[in-house]
């Protein structure tokens, strides 16, 4: 089984294959069919980026995000409601367009899980659980959560965490693996990157990254014309949930407490954004979801 790679140039495919090789047999590619000359060129470019200490190139970042999203979606598929999904994409993309990474292929979705949680992947994918969505009072709160997740992506929090966890040499390993076409033998190094990637979701990011995403979230919401306090309303909803409930266990285990987040936001915001507090909260287009049993 293959994921469609039509949107990638050949040199991107080479690295993408290496990434995919680590994820599962279902995503394995045939290394024998790769054009070796082009591959060498790709490795050259990648190698230079690494030597210069730069971020992983955007195409590879997107590819890694896709792999991670496929896993999350494997655990909880998209809610079968095209109107809802389109709506969330409209709100999310509008917010992302106000960010410094408007050029990413942003994709947003609500996934079928009663858990209260939200996930963002490198490359611009944001997934919100149904359990979280159902608790939004209005579009301003949805925007607050989407903007928080967009903040993580814009500031490359996940990528930094992955690099830290997998060791900085993982990028080099990845390219080496492709270069030598060892595929399975070196898949261990590549798998490291993906495992580290999944740990973002199971172990969480740094506390300071969560606080930073909250700060970015209120600003991005304000930039989009929303009341920036939508996120605060959500944090208060989260604070009101019973921490012993299994549906919030993962979210609480991977984020600072809603109380700490509000304290931190209060210190960072003060009254700075009050000029924008008259922004949009409720809209006619807001899609309400009946709670699943």
């Amino acid at each position: 089984m293959r994921i469609s790679l039509r949107n990638f140039t050949f040199r991107h495919v080479a690295l993408a294959c290496a990434l995919a090789a680590g994820s599962s047999a279902a995503l394995a590619f045939d290394f024998g069919k790769l054009d070796v000359d082009r591959l060498k060129k790709a490795i050259d470019i990648g190698g230079k980026a690494i030597k210069a200490g730069k971020d992983i190139p955007q195409a590879e970042e997107i590819r890694l995000g896709d792999e991670l999203a496929a896993k999350v979606l494997g655990a909880a598929p998209l809610v079968e409601n095209a109107a809802l999904q389109r709506y969330v994409n409209q709100v999310g993309l509008w917010l992302a367009l106000q960010s410094e990474r408007a050029d990413l292929p942003w994709r947003f979705g609500v996934i079928e899980s009663s858990d209260v949680n939200a996930f963002s992947m490198p490359g611009g994918i944001v997934l919100i659980t149904r359990g979280m969505y159902e608790r939004f009072r209005n579009e301003g709160e949805l925007a607050g959560v989407l903007a928080h997740e967009i903040g993580h992506v814009v500031e490359r929090h996940q990528l930094r965490q992955i690099q830290k966890a997998a060791g900085n040499e993982w990028k080099a390993d990845l390219i080496q693996a492709v270069a030598e076409e060892k595929g399975n033998k070196d898949a261990k190094n590549i798998a490291k990157a993906l495992t580290a990637g999944m740990e973002i979701f199971t172990r969480g990011l740094d506390r300071k990254d969560e606080f930073a995403a909250d700060r970015a979230g209120v600003v991005l919401a304000a930039r989009g014309g929303y009341n920036p306090y939508g996120l605060v309303g959500v944090l208060q909803t989260l604070g009101d949930l019973n921490a012993a409930d299994s549906r919030v266990a993962l979210m609480f285990a991977t984020h600072p407490s809603p109380l700490d987040r509000q304290d931190e936001l209060a210190s960072a915001m003060g009254e700075t954004l009050d000029t924008y507090a008259g922004g949009v909260e409720s809209t006619r287009r807001f899609v309400t979801l009946a709670p699943a049993k």
């Binding site: 994921i3 469609s4 279902a26 896993k71 979606l73 494997g74 655990a75 598929p77 998209l78 095209a82 389109r86 994409n89 409209q90 509008w94 367009l97 292929p105 942003w106 994709r107 899980s113 949680n117 994918i125 009072r137 579009e139 930094r160 199971t202 172990r203 300071k208 990254d209 606080f211 930073a212 700060r215 970015a216 600003v219 304000a222 930039r223 989009g224 014309g225 929303y226 009341n227 306090y229 309303g233 208060q236 604070g239 009101d240 949930l241 019973n242 012993a244 299994s246 266990a249 993962l250 285990a253 509000q262 931190e264 209060a266 210190s267 960072a268 915001m269 954004l273 507090a277 287009r285």
Partner: protein, 175 residues
């Protein structure tokens, strides 16, 4: 359904939704002024001490409309409020007897198909079909802009907030 009917239904649903959410309990995180309007220079109705219990009736902008136990009503700053958890018999959330422990992801309680534990996430089979579906649902920039405008949204220029001065550990930038 005609337009009027739809509006009526929407209003009804909104009323039901806000009714269901009314009466959230909260406490004040710090001493706060209770004001007659959702404005920083509105007359002060009462000066409330930290830890005072209030009921949140609604939220508007940077403010929450609240009522105190002695029936004083007014507005306090939203970020001065802390919602209470656990101690109230919240209907929607079934309390588990076990206490929550940070970092203990080892609970393998049968949470049903819809739960999403760390284990389930790690063990999940990737779904290329779902990933493709997600890509199909993607909106164009133009569509996002026009629907936002129709919803009354206009882009603003707003600078990012620096970390609070008291924050000790925000030097994590690696470039």
């Amino acid at each position: 359904m005609n337009r009027y009917g739809k509006t009526l239904l929407a209003a009804l649903l909104l009323a039901l939704a806000s009714d269901a959410l009314a009466g959230e309990r909260a406490t004040l995180a710090r001493d706060s002024e209770l004001r007659s309007k959702a404005l920083g220079d509105a007359p002060v109705v009462a000066r409330l001490k930290a830890s005072t219990a209030v009921t949140i009736d609604s939220r508007v902008g940077a403010w929450a409309k609240v009522t105190t136990a002695d029936r004083k009503a007014g507005y306090v700053r939203l970020l001065n409020l802390r919602t209470q958890s656990a101690q109230k018999g919240n209907s929607g959330v079934g309390a588990l007897a076990s206490a929550f422990r940070t970092g203990s992801s080892g609970q393998s309680v049968a949470t049903g198909v819809k739960g999403m534990s760390a284990e389930q996430l790690t063990a999940a089979e990737p779904s290329p079909a779902q990933l493709a579906k997600l890509a199909e649902l993607r909106e164009s920039d133009a569509q996002a802009r026009s629907t936002a405008a129709a919803a009354g949204l206009a882009a603003q220029t707003v600078a990012y907030l620096p970390p609070p001065a008291t924050g000790s550990d925000d030097n994590g930038k690696d470039d």
